[in-house]
Symmetry: C2
Subunit: 307 residues, 2 copies
């Protein structure tokens, strides 16, 4: 195999109760990446369509992670050329940089005959993620590489736990077309947390994980809560409170900020509920004259895939 085309999905990090820990992989939103072996050694980013991103290998998430991989696989006399059809807007909160960072290492690993483990791919992808977010967080990358819903037990050891995906779960995404600087969304958080809030949040996280194993949608609904981060970050997102009310009123199991926003997600049981939820949120944003993009997706158990 000399060339490959891969789907690089979007993802929802945090999932309300698992700040910096949980992530899930989307299915209907993602970039396409084409990677081929070329005689020129190293990594060349040939083109990026969709959004205006640097073609310089060492300034691009896909390039930097690919370089990290090649650094561990030196004895080849050829290189790789990457074309990216970018569909996930950078800064949207649904893992745009993770899609690029993971896509290139996944594709190259396939072309090399899979010499690297999933955990090693996460390690390489983190280098690309770091270029964009300035922090080594694997909560968006892990669900792309492992598929489904993941928990990062330890960001340094890259101890990643693959959680089960309840079969009727659908995700809605609303992406208001505004920009929030990651630095703003990080600085707005209070870094000191009262122990009572910690207990509340972790009890919900624990119950959420149990609900995934039990396919207990009622418990899942009671658990998807964020009492730590959402009160701060939601202030930066227009219509957050109204959309949350609308989503929950229309049977969403939970509603929250996707990653550091501005995208918002909801989890719904069944496609019918997801459709109702998204329609009602769209109606509200139309009324308020706010531009947005919206999506409905199943949870993608496979993660990155060959097209």
């Amino acid at each position: 195999m000399n060339a490959i085309e891969v789907f690089c999905p979007g993802s929802v990090a945090n999932i309300s109760c698992g700040f910096d820990i949980l992530g899930l992989c989307l299915d209907s939103i993602g970039d396409t990446m084409r990677v081929k072996k070329v005689s020129k050694k190293g990594i060349t980013i040939k083109s990026i369509s969709g959004y205006n991103l640097s073609l310089k290998t060492n300034e691009n998430a896909a390039g930097v992670s690919a370089l990290a991989l090649l650094n561990q696989y030196k004895n080849i006399d050829y290189g790789f050329e990457i074309e990216i059809i970018k569909k996930i807007k950078p800064g949207s909160g649904i893992g745009s940089s993770a899609a690029s960072a993971s896509g290139s290492v996944f594709a190259i690993n396939e072309l090399l005959g899979k010499p690297f483990s999933k955990k090693e791919l996460v390690k390489f992808a983190l280098e690309g993620e770091y270029i964009c977010s300035k922090s080594y967080h694997a909560d968006n990358i892990s669900p792309l590489i492992f598929g489904g819903i993941t928990l990062v037990r330890d960001h340094k050891e890259l101890d990643i736990v693959n959680l089960p995906t309840p079969s009727e779960l659908y995700v809605t995404i609303i992406h208001p077309q505004i920009e929030i600087k990651t630095s703003d969304s990080r600085s707005i958080i209070d870094r000191n947390i009262h122990i009572s809030k910690m207990i509340e949040q972790s009890a919900n996280l624990g119950a959420f994980i149990s609900s995934l194993y039990e396919e207990n949608y009622e418990l899942l609904k009671r658990s998807i809560k964020d009492v730590i981060i959402e009160p701060y970050r939601s202030e930066l997102i227009p219509e957050f409170k109204n959309l949350k009310k609308i989503a929950l009123k229309n049977n969403a199991l939970g509603f929250g900020i996707s990653g550091s926003g501005p995208s918002m997600f909801s989890l719904c049981k069944g496609i019918k509920n997801a459709n109702t939820v998204i329609k009602n949120m769209e109606y509200q944003l139309d009324k308020m004259d706010i531009n947005y993009k919206s999506h409905i997706s199943k949870i993608n158990k496979e993660g990155l895939k060959i097209l």
Copy 2:
């Protein structure tokens, strides 16, 4: 049925990564309680052997919780008489008050033909627990009433999640014969937690819960950690650090403070490991001339039981 004898087991709250949330029920340590219908209305505590506790109904955990139950079940023209053979020392950290508070309501509910749900029994037992600990915490009571390992998602709503019990799990308990005031063990904790510690602790809690469902002892071992409470409370417990080292060196999966101490627990895979761990810890305490009681127990999936 006019009289009943029940086993009121000890319990381990917190289980390192689940402060105020997790609890597990012990099997080989517990009180015995005899409850019988008597013509005298209300609740009479006839006798308590083992430890010197108040026989006044409204000063005793078993009495107070029983009164809370009777308050919801008024149309009977008889009462109940309680005898307690107390084996769990009050203030030991293995749920002495929870055993009394839960035992009486469990027994009376049986004698009445089970009019109350498990959740209602927890609610009544909490009133008894409150008399001793001055707080409404169900982390010791829940595993007694539901059995096995439990997570209290919400202390107010009493949303209790029953978690699975890996079949090869054994618990060791070391109870050094010292007293720690609950007020001391509560006041020593820093109530403001840095977000990075919170993330670390909840990631471990999440992974621990996954490990129970997966029967993944290696993941369980990596997850039983307490970076929030243990650093403070362990200072109050003699030989804590040495015993922890000894336990982990001898293949314990985890080691920590049981509840607010001074008892310490370890989780081990298989009885053989549990025996080795406890023998080595006993050797250390003997060497240091510290009095203790020690136990090995399976996790009790049934909880409170009729003898």
